[in-house]
């Protein structure tokens, strides 16, 4: 009886109570057990798989990546031929995925913002049209929409020999849209450099104008100056080097068009499908973001004498963005992941290439692992960027 009060008086940190009575010890023990159990399950699955693969004599490992692929890929951003390795074929697929995802994200954001604002328009017709758009597109399965766009391209346009030519050098056929390509000239490096300089100068002017306004209250036409710098500087450089310019026009040779740039029906269908579908969701996010800003903010800002454009830009949008950005991030991730539906319409994205690879080599586990690693990396990168942006626009409490 006498010892008990002594135990109780001991300060909790000094104790070296190693029995299960100690909550800290217990907590650690549970963690070890749980981690151990999870580890065992993983070990069981992995070892069982390896054993089964061995008994069935199915090849394993990533050695196939160095072998010649022999598989044809319809479109590629880098030079590729079937004589290249599987690793390069997969890289081509990865670039194709990134291409459609990045362009898709930019276009879906633009279209979604426009439709979202249109839904709030006081013009009845515009608001209803936007509403019909949103309700139609977000309630139809994406795969169906992709097949729709692809079939439309395939069946609506004539063959290459009867191609429509709406503009000189532009052809529309069921092989896609052929555009003239601008050929790279030796002086274009300077023009590109001038563009970078122009952007840098515009940013500097903006900073200077902001500081001056804060100090003196005087305003400066930043927008016009910036546009002049960004487009004027490279424009003058272009003229200074003698305006070299050459177009490579697509020509019908044999079965297909050769030369110029090609926008294939598969890419076009995938891009249009992803953009219009995702834009419907982004539109609703934008609408909710704008509605989330209290009407009083508008009134107060107008009362301060700001113009409507300024109210939107300086007061409403910064607040709305804080509501808009997190759910939009999910939509960007969805768009990227949905791009894997490309396999249904024959666009050679990473899933399509990896699927063929795993089929030719028979190494399904490795192929699926590559696909998962690719999407995980892309998705986490997008998340990281959007989280950074979200922190950037978050309300700074002073």
């Amino acid at each position: 009886m006498a010892s008990r009060p002594q135990v109780a008086r001991r300060p909790p940190t000094a104790g070296v109570n190693l029995s299960l009575n100690n909550p800290t010890i217990r907590a650690i023990l549970y963690q070890i057990v749980v981690v151990g159990a999870v580890g065992l399950v993983i070990w069981y699955l992995v070892s069982n798989t390896i054993e089964n693969l061995e008994t069935r004599r199915i090849a394993t490992g990533f050695g196939f990546l160095d072998r010649e692929a022999g598989l044809p890929i319809g479109e590629s951003l880098i030079p590729y031929s079937p004589a290249d390795t599987y690793a390069r074929a997969l890289f081509v697929g990865l670039l194709n995925t990134l291409r459609v995802a990045l362009i898709g994200i930019v276009l879906a954001t633009l279209l979604g913002t426009i439709v979202g604002i249109a839904r709030l328009s006081s013009n009845w017709l515009v608001a209803q049209a936007a509403r019909v758009y949103v309700e139609m597109l977000r309630n139809l399965p994406l795969l169906l929409q992709l097949l729709f766009w692809w079939t439309l391209f395939r069946d609506l346009f004539p063959g290459p020999r009867q191609a429509l030519a709406p503009l000189p050098g532009v052809f529309l056929s069921n092989r896609g849209v052929q555009l003239p390509a601008i050929l790279w000239q030796p002086g274009y490096g300077y023009v590109l450099g001038a563009f970078v300089v122009g952007v840098g100068a515009a940013l500097a002017v903006r900073r200077w104008a902001k500081r001056r306004q804060a100090l003196t209250g005087q305003q400066f036409p930043v927008l016009w100056t910036s546009l002049a710098l960004i487009f004027g500087v490279p424009g003058i450089t272009f003229l200074a080097i003698g305006a070299p310019f050459a177009l490579e026009r697509p020509e019908l040779r044999g079965f297909n068009f050769a030369g110029g740039m090609t926008l294939t029906p598969e890419f076009a269908a995938l891009l249009i499908g992803l953009v219009t579908y995702t834009a419907a969701f982004i539109a609703e996010i934008v609408r909710s973001g704008i509605l989330a800003v209290n009407q009083g903010q508008w009134e107060a800002a107008l009362a301060l004498g700001l113009r409507r454009g300024q109210v939107l830009r300086l007061v409403v949008l910064p607040q709305a963005l804080r509501v808009i950005v997190p759910p939009t991030t999910s939509q960007y991730l969805n768009l990227t992941k949905n791009s894997s539906l490309a396999v249904a319409i024959g666009y050679p994205d990473i899933v399509s290439v990896a699927n063929t690879t795993l089929n030719q080599t028979g190494q399904a586990i490795e192929g699926i692992a590559i696909i998962m690693a690719v999407y995980l990396t892309i998705s986490l990168s997008i998340s990281a960027f959007m989280n950074w942006y979200n922190r950037h626009i978050a309300l700074v409490e002073r």
Binding site: P5, N52, I58, A59, G70, T356, Q360, T361
Partner: protein, 358 residues
């Protein structure tokens, strides 16, 4: 007061601690069980026993290739590959209708067989060395000797595959077709634009819509597609060049030799019956035949069925219920307008040569 409360608290802690100890023991037991089950994971039930106990054969076939495997207007699967599955079901279960079909795309087929989703893969699959050696499957025979060809719309005026430089070519991924195609164009120093689409209906649809100039697959597949899907079959020409050997045959999982034997001999039985002149119509008349080869075939003498672990009337059941190879060919492939050609029996100048049943 504070002391008492502390004592009380420690008491309850002790009790819960004991409860958690029990739980801990449970987890440990579970983990031990897992270790125990992990060890003998490789011991598998034989396919024959599995098929017998579930009472039906699971057969992987093409999603829809008339002549080889396609559902008819009543939803019944018909075709040369389908008949092979029915033959195995007749041999093993005594009933050719105890088959369930799993339609598989070119990309799904090997995984479906490897994972045990199907018992046989009978899906116009080319027997190649890399597939035989590295996929964990075994090919057991060739039920159709084929070769890869090209089909083009007649109005293009193309006469030879050598004129196809620059063409857009529709092709299914994950096939030997895809690899032969690149080989052929590389060997002839020609360029092409591939349009690679997984689903058969989509890829043929793309060809007929004019998305590609050329559709390439096995010649039998071209004929089948042209017959079944072209609005006017005469508008499309199959070019004379056959650019590859495509021995199409059934395959089973590697490591189950008994099952491989059953499938192999079920197919040989269909050929042997043709050689012996046995058909689904006349086999009953031959039950009392004096020909020793026929006696062995119908199970009147010998233990050939028992050697495989199946009914001794296995071959009789196959021929009675499914028919011999010639009957299956006439029923399925001949309507596509494909000559028997190299798929004739060896004694008629073809490549079909059943190993002797004795």
């Amino acid at each position: 007061m504070g002391q008492e409360r502390r004592v009380h608290a420690s008491g309850t802690t002790f009790i819960t601690g004991k409860g958690d100890m029990k739980y801990l023991g449970l987890v440990a037991a579970g983990a031990a069980l897992m270790i125990a089950t992990a060890a003998p994971a490789s011991a598998q039930q034989s396919t024959l026993d599995a098929v017998k106990s579930k009472g039906f054969l699971q057969c992987g076939v093409n999603t829809g290739l008339p002549g080889f495997s396609a559902p008819d207007s009543q939803g019944v699967w018909r075709g040369l590959d389908v008949d092979l599955c029915r033959a195995v079901a007749a041999a093993v279960l005594g009933d050719a209708n105890k088959v369930r079909f799993t339609p598989l795309t070119a990309q799904q087929r090997f995984t479906a067989l490897q994972s045990g989703e199907v018992d046989i893969l009978s899906r116009n699959t080319t027997w190649t060395m890399s597939r035989d050696a590295s996929l964990g499957i075994d090919f057991v025979g060739v039920n159709f000797y084929d070769g890869q060809g090209f089909m083009v719309p007649r109005k293009l005026g193309v006469k030879s595959a050598k004129e196809l430089n620059g063409a857009s070519v529709c092709v299914q991924p994950g096939t030997t077709t895809e690899l032969n195609l690149t080989d052929y164009f590389r060997a002839n120093n020609m360029q092409f634009t591939p349009v690679v689409i997984e689903k058969l209906e989509e890829v043929t649809g793309a060809y007929f819509a004019g998305r590609c100039d050329v559709y390439t697959t096995d010649v039998s597949g071209l004929a089948s597609t042209r017959m079944a899907q072209a609005p006017n079959p005469n508008d499309h020409v199959i070019l004379p060049e056959v650019i590859s050997k495509e021995p199409l045959g059934p395959s089973v999982r590697q490591g189950d030799d008994r099952w491989a034997d059953i499938v192999k001999w079920s197919f040989y039985a269909m050929l042997e019956a043709e050689e012996l002149g046995l058909t689904s119509k006349n086999i009953d008349e031959h039950m009392n035949s004096q020909n020793p080869a026929i006696q062995r075939f119908v199970g009147a003498t010998g233990d050939f069925g028992k050697m495989l672990g199946i009914d001794n009337k296995w071959a009789y059941n196959i021929i009675k219920q499914v028919g011999n190879y010639a009957e299956s060919y006439e029923r399925n492939i001949a309507p596509l307008g494909i000559e028997r050609g190299i798929n004739k029996l060896w004694k008629d100048g073809g490549l079909m040569y059943p190993m002797p049943i004795r």
